[in-house]
Symmetry: C2
Subunit: 229 residues, 2 copies
């Protein structure tokens, strides 16, 4: 799976969040990091879309929506003749959103400071995915990045990596497999034999754990079937 991350951030260079995200996926060869600038080359954008399976819009929430720069991209690149009409050029691809906001999660609900949930506020993108015959992924929303503790940042890093590179990030099994693949790549790249051996030991443990979980799931299933009898 190849992923195109389209970043729409008017103050990109000042954004520690965007630097954090960029570093998180720097080692993934399947990821194309694509910052939007002032001018848009429609043909080039469509080439990039064609080369990728997952398209991610990554932006800070400005007035409950993406900055104007992304709206211009949508208006210019996704014309009806290309995106719907005859071609449906994005059909079958996935649409992801990585949204950062300076307000807290509890503000995004009825009666609180922002009145609506992100699910509600992002409806236009969901409607668009539906119109384009794309699969709409659950948005990855990062609330108040600046206030995250070290361990929360670590978790976000892995969640973000999976959101961008894991074709099955939403399922537990998909997440386990992804970890296994990451570990295998680390092992392949490692030249120090001692470290290689330690990594292999971790990999063995991970595999054992997965087998144990499979056994437990199987046992649970049997019990549940009996209950349903």
């Amino acid at each position: 799976m190849r992923t195109l991350v389209i970043i729409a951030h008017p103050k990109y260079d000042d954004s520690t969040t965007q630097q954090f995200f960029k570093a998180a996926v720097a080692d993934f060869s399947t990821v194309t990091w694509h910052r939007l600038g002032a001018s848009i080359n429609v043909e080039r954008e469509r080439e990039l879309i064609g080369q990728n399976d997952r398209i991610i819009f990554q932006f800070p929430l400005y007035w409950y929506s993406a900055p104007a720069i992304l709206k211009k991209w949508l208006d210019d690149v996704l014309t009806s003749s290309y995106a719907t009409g005859d071609q449906f050029a994005l059909q079958g691809k996935e649409l992801g959103l990585v949204v950062t906001t300076g307000d807290a999660q509890h503000d995004f609900q009825a009666g609180a400071g922002e009145q609506f949930t992100l699910s509600e506020l992002l409806r236009p993108y969901q409607a668009m995915a539906s119109k384009l015959k794309m699969t709409y992924l659950t948005p990855l929303v990062v609330y108040q990045f600046a206030y995250l503790e070290q361990d929360q940042q670590q978790r976000l890093l892995v969640n973000y990596q999976q959101y961008v590179t894991n074709s099955a990030f939403a399922s537990f099994t998909g997440q386990q497999q992804w970890f296994g693949e990451q570990l295998q790549q680390l092992i392949d790249r490692e030249s120090d034999e001692t470290r290689k051996t330690r990594l292999s030991a971790i990999q063995q443990t991970l595999t054992d754990n997965m087998d144990a979980i499979d056994d437990l799931n199987w046992a649970l299933k049997l019990m549940k079937n009996k209950e349903d009898d």
Copy 2:
């Protein structure tokens, strides 16, 4: 009440709908017709906002939202220091939306072509009005203007005029009063005495009708009060 109509339409000159709207309010001195162009003079925009009580965003629906040109306006003009933070410069004003769309009303619902209602898709503007401490007016949505019959266009014309100029367009009494005022203005401007007399007769009929409706409402209220006893 003074109204600022901010038009964000990339193909304004080709839009018969926009010409129709413009003609509809051409005679109203309380309306400022303001087309957005490529560049935005933030100070000038804020002056215009300051001079008006009702702010209307008027645009065709592009990907379930306003064209990029309006998003840029929001991002640039409504900075936090001006629009929230210290000043809340738009507090107490009204926010209206006039939205045109090429799709039919029945497409905007769950399971239909567009999946969501306009109420849902326009949530970002509603959230913004709330944040700015503005009153959010029920949007005026025009579906498939090109397919409207002559009499539907006539009705739309009056609805639009009221949406832009009537401070109480949502109530029946407010609408009646508005009609009375329009008629009075026609009478004041009319120089031909025969026509003036005919208009005055219509005005008298309108006043009589309003009195009759008041009486009926009063009678209904009494009956309802008895029922509730």
